[in-house]
Amino acid sequence: MSEESKTRMTTQVYEIYIRAKPQAIWDAITKPEWTTRYGYQGPVQYDLRAGGKFRALATPPLIAMGMPEVVVDGEVIESEPPKRLVQTYRFLFNDQMKAEGFTRLTFEIEQAASGFCRLTVTHELEGAPTMAFMVASKFSETGTGGWSWILSDLKSLLETGNRME
């Protein structure tokens, strides 16, 4: 693929319909008691105001694998519960990831027809090719799961009370 193509595909958009209330989806993204129940299951810490800090912590098994205690950090840019959250987002697994720096992440929650909400995740990944690869990956491929996997798991948790297995 040409360099030009690479730079033009830096934004990734994920959209999913979830049978849940906007507040439930908002909580599932921003509250540690929910984030420990799907995806990587690490607790998050959000200071939900512009300029507030964001941190996602590793679970004990991940720490045992050599992950740092704080695996993702960033800053809240906009917080409009339960509709819109804009933040920066940086992986801290290793020096290479740190060097890629902050990306921009937007969560949008909109009420759709008949008890459904549409959750859209827009991840702007300019200058972060490794993170772009990771968040686009399938679960089985690399031992990591990207947004598709995380959001499917989130949907499953909110709709059935159980994770996908």
Partner: protein, 116 residues
């Protein structure tokens, strides 16, 4: 747009032009109608119709960037179908077969994709 269901996704994927459009966006995400149209021997209106079907199935999401409407691949519905259908029916065998198919066809496949 109604909440995406499997029928809409399968129907959208049943058409070769629409699969080709998804391939184009996989190779290069966030393209405009004009860019996509230039890859197809089809009227602008025809391409728009196909894009609409893909959008209604949730397979693409559009975003405005200035005056340009950009089209982004949304892999989530395919992921959900994968979870719902592929996992259920012996994923291991399927992936062994797709691996074999890809190995056997790999070169030819890559070449034809480059041409397209």
């Amino acid at each position: 747009m109604q909440c995406v269901n499997d029928d809409a996704v399968f129907k959208a994927l049943a058409d070769p032009t629409r699969r080709f459009l998804l391939d184009l966006l996989f190779a290069q995400n966030g393209q405009s109608l004009t860019a996509l149209e230039s890859e197809l021997k089809m009227t602008r209106f025809g391409v728009m119709k196909h894009l609409r079907v893909l959008e209604n199935a949730g397979l693409i999401v559009t975003r405005w960037s200035g005056r340009e409407k950009l089209h982004f691949l949304n892999p989530v519905p395919i992921r959900l179908i994968h979870d719902r259908w592929i996992d259920k029916f012996t994923e291991q065998q399927v992936s062994a077969l797709t691996d074999l198919k890809m190995q056997l066809e790999g070169d030819a496949c890559r070449k034809s994709r480059k041409r397209a």
